[in-house]
């Protein structure tokens, strides 16, 4: 059977990382936590929970951590790679569903969408921000996805080898869509349920960060 690796980027997530790692280990052969220069005990806790840990010496942002995660997963011999958030908002069974979708063989890249089945308790402001993200992603990269900002995604080894992540921060989610379009990868979406807690809400993109993300996306589009 294929080797499945789940990548979890984490920045100061000592409160939730152990549970995230243990959950991910139920549905993957290996869990790679990329500690993005945390100042807390994220690395130690992730390692003692059973994850392989790659530690950034300095904080590089979500995009930087995901890029490291993909490169690391490839080095660890992954056949299928999924990414999940460290804050507990993604359920392991949803990661499994995304990976299974790849095993079916008709997709190279899978996005776990919070919108296909409107379950879970996504707050209105999140929903609005997500719609804006989707619209901007569509305008820039000509591909409509129902949840362009989702942190749960999965890809085959061949896809991960071709995808080049250049953005450092939150704009990485849309950059994945861009890469899927540019590299002509087959995209599929699977429904997932996001679990919003006060903790995970405090960790996501604020309105201001969202604006910065949008600005960066436009800038990169113009310059690259």
């Amino acid at each position: 059977m294929e080797k499945r690796v789940i990548v979890i980027p984490a920045y100061n997530e000592e409160r939730t990382i152990a549970e995230a790692v243990r959950g991910a280990l139920q549905v993957a052969d290996l869990v790679l936590v990329v500690d993005d220069g945390s100042s807390d005990r994220t690395s130690e806790i992730a390692a003692s929970s059973g994850a392989v840990v790659a530690r950034h010496a300095v904080n590089r942002g979500l995009g930087g951590a995901l890029g490291t995660g993909l490169a690391g997963a490839l080095r660890l011999g992954a056949d299928l790679i999924a990414t999940m958030d460290a804050d507990g908002q993604h359920r392991p069974e949803d990661a499994k569903r995304a990976l299974d979708r790849l095993s079916a063989g008709d997709a190279d890249f899978v996005i776990g969408s919070r919108m296909l089945e409107r379950k879970g308790n996504m707050p209105v402001r999140r929903r609005l921000a997500q719609l804006l993200g989707n619209a901007l992603t569509f305008l820039l990269f000509r591909r409509w996805v129902s949840d362009s900002q989702s942190g749960l995604r999965a890809m085959t080894r061949a896809a991960a080898e071709r995808i080049e992540i250049r953005s450092s921060r939150m704009e990485v989610s849309s950059e994945f869509v861009k890469e899927v379009v540019d590299k002509r990868l087959r995209l599929a979406e699977v429904p997932i349920e996001a679990v919003y807690t006060a903790y995970s809400l405090s960790k996501g993109q604020s309105f201001l960060v969202g604006l910065q993300t949008a600005f960066k996306l436009v800038l990169h589009k113009l310059l690259d």
Partner: protein, 114 residues
């Protein structure tokens, strides 16, 4: 010479001096030194004899000499801003690449498997 002229000329001399110093340390090429020298010389010329700018303005079809100076300055600032931004992005990417290599240098699968 009035006060503003004096201030600007002194400032330009400092700018020229800094360019020469960088050239001596091998940080500027001969061509770059020439460009900076021309720039500072041009500024001094316009400061001491504002009618030079008026002449340029008429040639370029802009009303006043002072306007030409402002337009050119804004264009130059935009250009420098753009270069600075590109440089910064390059550096960001290089730091990320470096951080990545260090982080992945000795990751390996735990011997006990899952």
């Amino acid at each position: 010479m009035n006060a503003i002229q004096l201030v600007l000329v002194v400032f330009s001399c400092f700018g020229f001096g800094a360019a020469v110093a960088r050239f001596r340390r091998g940080r500027l090429s001969r061509a770059q030194l020439l460009i900076w020298s021309l720039l500072w010389a041009g500024i001094v010329a316009v400061v001491l004899r504002p009618e030079t700018a008026s002449f340029l303005a008429r040639r370029l079809g802009v009303g006043r000499g002072a306007d030409v100076v402002v337009y050119l300055a804004v264009a130059a600032l935009f250009y420098l801003q753009f270069r600075l931004f590109s440089r910064l992005e390059d550096h960001e990417r290089q730091i990320t690449a470096l951080t990545r290599e260090l982080a992945l240098k000795d990751i390996k699968e735990p011997p006990h498997g899952r």
